[in-house]
Symmetry: C2
Subunit: 327 residues, 2 copies
């Protein structure tokens, strides 16, 4: 399958608009002073379910024929896609089963259940997530909702990029850079296609945790690379093993490049967001901001957009990060 077109993203925007929030794009004078450039922050932390994932999930699930699929949907997710799928399914009156790793953050498991989904836990080390999900899908006659490698999911995430383009135009700003967190690449792909429709010269940058920078390495090598590690990042939302087929093609087409950040840089970004921005950002949602703060985007004298993509963090981990303690 091919990446979505800008028209598909526009159609997704019409579909999700009654339910998705148009999230703010803000500036911080102190942040601008610190970086010597103009930085806009897209607050997807304020989106439904506390992350951008509702956009893609609703775009996909709202197109399901309920008569053909009374069993609803099945999805695999470590937490934010889970909540997006659960929320979108509830709005559509469809059942949702979510296959989640047993080491997913307790907060994310609890929130997914609270949104009405059935959660099936599996052991990341011993069990095959995809086999479990496929068995459930077949048993129930349900539709599989992939977290990223699906044109409808990518188109939904891309609606955040349409909003950014409109909000920048209203502010009279032209972005030199757009940087966002990347796991499988659904958000990045959608953002890149959308922003380039309005700002073709904007350099789109994928931010990943060190050792989980499969997208960055794939974009350099020209083929999809895998991560050696499968778990253990503080960025629980960003542990996909490799880019998707469609997302890798989209990011290649859009000339995306990648950067990686250390865990210490992520923690510093979560702290800065609390102290200076008064925003709650989860580690995986803060990697792009971390790259910006760490000087990995040459923003001095330029204009950049940073996506804060999620804010679902357990209070215990948040407390440890604020205190500067290891978790």
């Amino acid at each position: 399958m091919l990446p979505p077109t800008i028209d598909a993203i526009r159609a997704a925007d019409v579909r999700i608009r009654p339910y998705a929030l148009r999230t703010p794009l803000i500036e911080s004078p102190r942040l601008n002073d610190r970086l010597g450039g103009r930085v806009f922050l897209k607050l997807e932390t304020l989106q439904r379910v506390g992350a951008f994932k509702f956009r893609g999930a609703y775009n996909k699930i709202s197109q399901i024929d309920k008569a053909r699929h009374p069993g609803g949907v099945v999805a695999s997710s470590s937490g934010n896609h889970a909540q997006g799928v659960a929320d979108a399914s509830a709005l559509m009156g469809l059942p949702a089963i979510i296959v989640m790793p047993s080491d997913a953050p307790p907060l994310k498991i609890a929130r997914t259940k609270a949104l009405g989904a059935e959660v099936v836990l599996y052991d990341r080390a011993r069990e095959d997530r995809d086999a479990i999900a496929e068995r459930l899908r077949a048993e129930r006659g349900a539709v599989m909702v992939h977290p990223f490698d699906d044109p409808d999911i990518i188109a939904g995430q891309g609606t955040a990029g349409l909003e950014i383009a409109e909000q920048l135009a209203a502010a009279g700003a032209t972005p030199d850079f757009l940087i966002a967190p990347c796991s499988g690449g659904g958000l990045l792909s959608g953002l890149a296609i959308a922003i380039h429709s309005g700002f073709p010269d904007c350099q789109v940058i994928s931010a990943e945790p060190e050792e989980f920078d499969d997208m960055a390495r794939s974009l350099v090598s020209g083929k999809r690379e895998k991560n050696a590690r499968k778990s253990g990042s503080i960025c629980d939302a960003l542990m996909s093993e490799m880019p998707g087929n469609i997302t890798f093609e989209a990011c290649t087409n859009e000339n995306v490049r990648g950067v990686a950040v250390s865990e210490a840089e992520v923690r510093a970004a979560v702290r800065y967001a609390f102290e200076e921005l008064k925003l709650v950002v989860e580690p995986g949602g803060a990697v792009a901001f971390a790259a910006m703060l760490a000087g990995k985007v040459p923003v001095a004298g330029r204009t950049a957009v940073v996506v804060l993509s999620g804010g679902n963090i357990d209070p215990k981990l948040f407390t440890e990060i604020l205190a500067g303690r290891p978790s």
Copy 2:
């Protein structure tokens, strides 16, 4: 002196616009579902210095004749007005001396100094803040910047109300209620005058901590009432002893009424803002939201605006509130 007119607030808006942020007005579907109404949140936590106070301070300080007052400004504040004055003075190239209680939150003292102000601490129990400030003002030939009882301060804070009115109009919404935190009443007065220019039937509500509800009691009795207690609220930003002359007149004219919230209700609101909204709100900035969550505003089937007025909270207190522990 008289309260500012709507034209004075519009003039303030022109004055502050190059520097103040137009803060987002957001909705949360989960919050709306919980309360059974439509609730807009005005995020003054995202304003410069992390609180609305920059608006009034800049409106006042930008009008000072630097040639006549090379000594700059003097202000008394427990923390947020301090930062607003320090930031506005720095922008204007004027020195600022801030008289702060020695038990002010360390974060607020540190941030005020970081903005370039000279901080003079006093002992709340033994020393006369106003005498100290007046001595400094006279010595330096400086201008006193009152935290609330000044038409220019009130007009500046009122610019938040102009933004709310515009943002509501863009959303096609008509507010039944506007509720905001109240200490001396500067924000409340400005908001009430501004919102009534666009929505004359909107009931404006002052929210205060229990035992510090001088405005609520004054509005009932028809004369300015004092609080018996002078310290000890978790809402460090809301401990003014009594309403100002001008703010009391403005709130009376605008038919404001008052509600009070308990410390437990404030803590629950700070926690909810973290968990569900992904926002950092300080206790004093959360009292209006606390009143809303506690059912003290009859929002079911109606539309309300809640101002989250500040987010400057020490990480230690924030951590204790998230954990549900007493401080």
